[in-house]
């Protein structure tokens, strides 16, 4: 009896000690960025320069896309690297290789390293929400690019996705809606169902399609930004609906696979392919009459805009999380009439690309 008593006492004591160590939350110190005092308007140019350069020098900017190996993210990285290094900052890149969990891991480890600025390209609206919060608490400015999270941080740079959805939906209604001699059938190929891009584009599209009930959305599938998956989905859909009017994919790299499937089914001249983003493949596809139209959202500008906003945030001295900026870059419609103009598309490697 005594022995049992002693053992339970020991166990209880251990549990007590363990419980006292319990805590929740990301838990880390939050130090406000250096400076904080505003500069007077009468400050000398020398002092202004000192403050500006000093806020940036030696600081690190980190970028975590969903994955490299595609012109979109590579163009961003290229622009950012050029811009940040010109400003005297270090640029760090992490490649999660299209894996959600690895992106979370990468962001977590970057929070441990504490860069000055963190640029994230969210896989979906939930996965990095808590981490972004944690990063801001740790004193890191977070800029989100193109795909937004549930947790809004200091700045968002990207396409005006809600407007984009509205515009493309309107264009589709023009081509496939009432008054056209088509079946009014539309296929939608999403990226990820829970991606910020998808949700916002779908919200914009809904507001238009709700007013045009004749448009029948025969298939809404998530192809996970993967060309092959889009191809497979579309080949099934085109079999089921040979009279399909339009196929709308949310990303040109992915939608190229859908277009190929439609071409293989021999329907490419009947089915109109809509998409967004303007990498080189869009211009080539428009040239080869695979795409009908695409909306570019000025990807190179997005890269340089990020650098500008980062510079501003770093010099402002305001604590991370206190701003709420959204920078929507211009939407440009590219179709078969203007695809071969200069700078319409980009390839992630050169400036001023022209596809011919």
């Amino acid at each position: 009896m005594r022995r049992i008593g002693r053992r339970t006492a020991a166990l209880a004591a251990a549990t007590m000690i363990a419980l006292t160590g319990c805590s929740t939350g990301g838990g880390s110190e939050s130090d406000a960025n250096g400076g904080g005092e505003g500069l007077a308007p009468t400050v000398s140019a020398e002092k202004l320069r000192e403050h500006a350069v000093g806020s940036l020098k030696g600081k690190t900017a980190a970028f975590v896309p969903v994955g490299l190996g595609t012109p979109l993210t590579e163009e961003w990285a290229r622009q950012m690297k050029r811009g940040f290094e010109a400003a005297g900052m270090k640029f760090v890149l992490r490649d999660p290789n299209w894996d959600t969990a690895r992106q979370a891991e990468a962001v977590q480890s970057l929070i441990n390293d504490k860069p000055a600025v963190l640029v994230v390209h969210n896989f979906d609206v939930q996965v990095l929400a808590k981490l972004i919060q944690q990063a801001e608490k740790a004193g890191i400015y977070v800029i989100q690019i193109n795909m937004v999270s549930n947790y809004k941080s200091d700045a968002f740079v990207g396409a005006d996705t809600i407007d984009l959805g509205r515009r493309i939906a309107t264009d589709i209604v023009k081509e496939c809606g009432a008054g056209t001699n088509t079946s009014h059938k539309v296929q939608i190929v999403q990226g990820d169902a829970t991606s910020g891009f998808t949700l916002d584009v779908m919200a914009g599209a809904k507001s238009v399609f709700d007013k045009h009930k004749e448009i029948k959305i025969v298939s809404t599938q998530a192809a996970n930004w993967d060309r092959t998956k889009a191809h497979d989905i579309t080949s099934t859909v085109i079999q089921q609906h040979p009279d399909l009017c339009a196929s709308w994919g949310f990303w040109d790299q992915m939608q190229y696979g859908a277009a190929t499937a439609i071409k293989e089914a021999g329907k490419i001249d009947k089915v109109k392919v809509f998409t967004s983003d303007h990498s080189a493949i869009t211009c080539e596809a428009l040239r080869d009459k695979l795409f009908f139209q695409s909306y570019g959202y000025s990807v190179p500008t997005q890269g340089t805009d990020i650098v500008a906003i980062a510079k501003q945030l770093l010099q402002s001295g305001k604590p991370p999380g206190s701003s709420r900026i959204a920078d929507y870059t211009p939407l440009v419609k590219i179709d078969r009439s203007n695809w071969n103009k200069q700078n319409m598309c980009y390839d992630g490697k050169t400036d001023g690309l022209t596809v011919s």
Binding site: G21, C22, A101, R102, S109, V125, V127, A193, T198
Partner: protein, 733 residues
């Protein structure tokens, strides 16, 4: 050499466990000192431990950690390791599930899909269904168990092959997940859950360590206990090792298989819950390709794909290696493709080395276990006929009678009771008894096992016997066998567990009833006693069993193969014969020198075995073999012996010359009085004991097939060996 011993002053310091020549130089002393530290022995005993089996995966894990601590900045920080542990916990839980299924002989390829599906289900329940979080978590676990049960029932009751079954369920579960994703995930995207329990699951920390990791540790401990010490765990391992044999043994194979798959599903669900809480990612792609990573992890850890072997720790080591490897490469900013290549390389290395380790571990231990040291001897006394020394060879044993020729095998010791019946042990583990005029009636008195060696009678006529390989036993006059003890206190400063008695050799009973007996060596089993001889280290001990309390304790530690034990005529000391040192020690148990040890006689020309009291106040000593000059030289050169052991088979080794032995009579003051030889050793090779009774001397030999008997010239009619208190009626273990 000492034909008569000059009485030494008994110092409190114990004599060194080696023969110290009179002219020993400092260099020799240092050489001996250096040889005492046997680093190789530490390694050999370490590798012999069962928990060193996963030595290679563990070494790999340590290697990965060390490498990345140097190469990747920020790897070895506390923050990084703590945050990595949360990610590791999820992977490790799934690996654990896979490991349980592998051990049961199957495979579960659907772990990735189950993980993703449970993640999605829990998220939907928590955000959309309105159930309290606890209920959602419980339901999630239940669903995981259900998914596992689907796998398990198909495999167990429909007798389908696990590979195919789980491949199909992989697709089915992933399909269900895709459906859910398509229809519901968009709705979860904007929901924000603010529940303390949910918070706890996602970011809860106990003393800085994430809650998921704590849960993992608890699950590992439970899993280890269940798998290694509970009936269910043994059944799982048995089914995995041989399903047919398990069925024949009466194990409910189907139930066990079902349970193992249910465990797998349950653990995937638990991992999925932690993932859902941490990342809230309701995507159909969660867990895609995870089954390959998990499989790689368990194989890396060394769990056999064919089933029946494996521990939870191996699964954990594999998961930790892969997780930390990925983390390290990420921190080094190496691209994702490289991760796969590096993983493949590490896998090949791990599997190759682990296979070799498994096959060769026994051999590696064997080759490093024996650590010969320098054993020096004095000048060899000349025993040849005509030499005139006290040990001069004669042929007094040539005419000895043979008792029980061909009926006994290996009578190491012989003793006679009050009625004059002869007892001896045999290598089959029996005690034979010979009775009658000429000992013509042979019968098996008791069946004990092992190889009964030293014999003695206590005051109640119980036959107390040292059984090699078993311990100390007592046989009542009716032939009933009782174990007295088979263990002693463990030496905690040694790696090897020496609490069990391996080679109880000879015994004698002190006047107060305590039984003092020798254990020849603690490092080798009974069949390998010769290895102790080749090693020559102080591996043996003298123990004392107290019949009153039933306790055994080690009286003298670290003796070089103590063999014969004999209480002196006055009951105040014990003589201990040390085989490989060819000397006798005296250990005082009473009187002014109580507790001290001195050298009684040394530099015998042969290897000593049993000692027994003679009828006239003197002692009989058995020499079971002669010292040959070649072997004496080999004992001075440990490298020679070590190489000999490694390169040639045991049958070819140089052995002590055990085909020629003799019996020596020595006085209380250490003088050699007479010797009895069988030159040529045809009838009596390897003489291990002799017993005087009623004017006759009875000769026992460890490898012989008879007991010898010769008539002695001076013959008082007393028998010796009696007069000790009883061991009956006392606490026996």
């Amino acid at each position: 050499m000492t034909e008569s011993v000059t009485p030494r002053r008994v110092t409190s310091r114990r004599p060194p466990e080696r023969n110290v020549p009179a002219d020993e130089t400092l260099g020799m002393k240092l050489r001996h000192l250096r040889r005492r530290i046997a680093l190789q022995q530490v390694f050999a005993e370490l590798f012999a431990k069962r928990w060193m089996e996963p030595a290679i995966p563990l070494a790999l894990l340590v290697g990965v950690v060390v490498f990345f601590s140097i190469a990747a900045p920020g790897f070895a920080t506390e923050q990084n390791l703590l945050s990595s542990s949360a990610e590791l916990a999820e992977l490790a839980l799934v690996c654990l599930g896979m490991a349980v299924v592998l051990i049961s002989g199957g495979i579960d390829l659907s772990v990735g899909s189950m993980f993703g599906l449970c993640n999605m289900v829990v998220l939907l329940l928590v955000t959309l269904s309105g159930l309290p979080v606890i209920a959602a978590i419980g339901l999630g676990l239940l669903i995981g168990a259900l998914l596992g049960a689907i796998n398990g029932s198909i495999v167990a009751y429909l007798k389908a092959r696990p590979f195919l079954t789980t491949l199909v369920t992989l697709i089915i579960f992933r399909g269900v997940l895709n459906l859910l994703d398509l229809n519901f995930s968009a709705q979860t995207a904007t929901a924000f859950v603010l529940d303390p329990i949910w918070e706890w699951f996602s970011t809860g920390k106990v003393a800085g360590i994430p809650f998921s990791f704590i849960t993992l540790v608890v699950v590992l401990l439970i899993g280890h206990i269940v798998l290694s010490r509970s009936r269910l765990g043994w059944h799982i391992t048995a089914v995995g090792a041989s399903r047919r044999a398990a069925r024949h043994a009466g194990i409910r194979v189907e139930r066990v298989l079902l349970l193992s798959y249910v465990f797998s599903g349950l653990l995937c669900a638990l991992a999925g819950i932690f993932y859902a809480a941490r990342l809230s990612s309701a995507s159909a792609r969660v867990g895609e390709g995870m089954e390959l990573t998990v499989l790689t992890a368990v194989i890396l850890g060394g769990i056999s794909l064919s089933g029946g072997k494996g521990t939870v720790w191996r699964a954990f080591i594999g998961a930790a290696t892969i997780s930390l490897l990925g983390k390290g490469l990420l921190l080094m900013n190496v691209g994702g493709e490289v991760f796969q290549t590096v993983l493949a390389g590490v896998l090949i290395l791990a599997v190759g080395l682990d296979l070799k380790w498994g096959k060769n571990r026994g051999k590696a231990i064997q080759k490093t276990y024996v650590n010969p040291t320098i054993v020096q001897y004095g000048d060899l006394p000349d025993c040849r006929p005509g030499s005139g020394s006290a040990f001069e060879m004669n042929d007094r044993l040539v005419g000895a009678e043979s008792i029980g020729v061909g009926k006994v095998e290996g009578p190491e010791d012989v003793i006679l009771d009050k009625q004059g019946r002869l007892y001896c042990g045999t290598r089959q583990g029996w005690i034979m008894r010979f009775s009658g005029e000429n000992f013509e009636n042979a019968e098996i008195f008791a069946r004990i096992g092992g190889h009964p060696l030293g014999l003695a009678f206590d005051a109640d006529d119980n036959l107390v016997v040292c059984v090699a390989g078993m311990g100390l036993y007592a046989v009542t006059p009716d032939g009933e066998v009782r174990k007295l003890t088979d263990e002693s206190n463990r030496t905690w400063t040694r790696l090897r567990d020496d609490s069990r008695l391996r080679l109880a050799d000879d015994l004698d009973i002190a006047p107060d009833g305590k039984i003092y007996f020798s254990e020849g060596t603690t490092r080798f089993e009974m069949a390998d006693w010769i290895l102790d001889g080749v090693e020559g280290r102080p591996n043996g001990r003298l123990l004392c069993y107290d019949p009153e309390t039933g306790k055994t304790r080690t009286v003298i530690r670290d003796l070089v193969f103590p063999n014969g034990v004999c209480c002196s005529h006055d009951g105040k000391s014990f003589l201990i014969a040390q085989t490989w040192l060819c000397r006798i020690l005296r250990y005082w148990i009473d009187g002014p020198n109580k507790g001290r040890i001195e050298v009684f006689m040394e530099n015998f020309p042969g290897y000593l075995d049993n000692i027994n009291r003679a009828s006239d106040g003197t002692y009989w000593v058995a020499l079971n073999g002669m010292r040959s000059p070649a072997y004496d030289l080999a004992m001075r050169m440990p490298v020679f012996r070590r190489r000999m052991m490694k390169r040639i088979p045991r049958d070819e080794w140089l052995y002590p010359s055990m085909n020629h032995g003799c019996v020596v009579k020595v006085s209380e003051s250490g003088e050699v009085l007479e010797t009895l030889w069988d030159p040529g050793g045809t009838a009596h090779a390897t003489i291990t004991s002799m017993r005087e009774h009623d004017g006759y001397l009875y000769i026992g030999g460890l490898e012989n097939n008879r007991v010898g008997r010769i008539k002695l010239d001076n013959s008082p009619a007393e028998s010796v060996g009696a007069g000790a208190p009883s061991v009956a009626g006392t606490a026996a273990s």
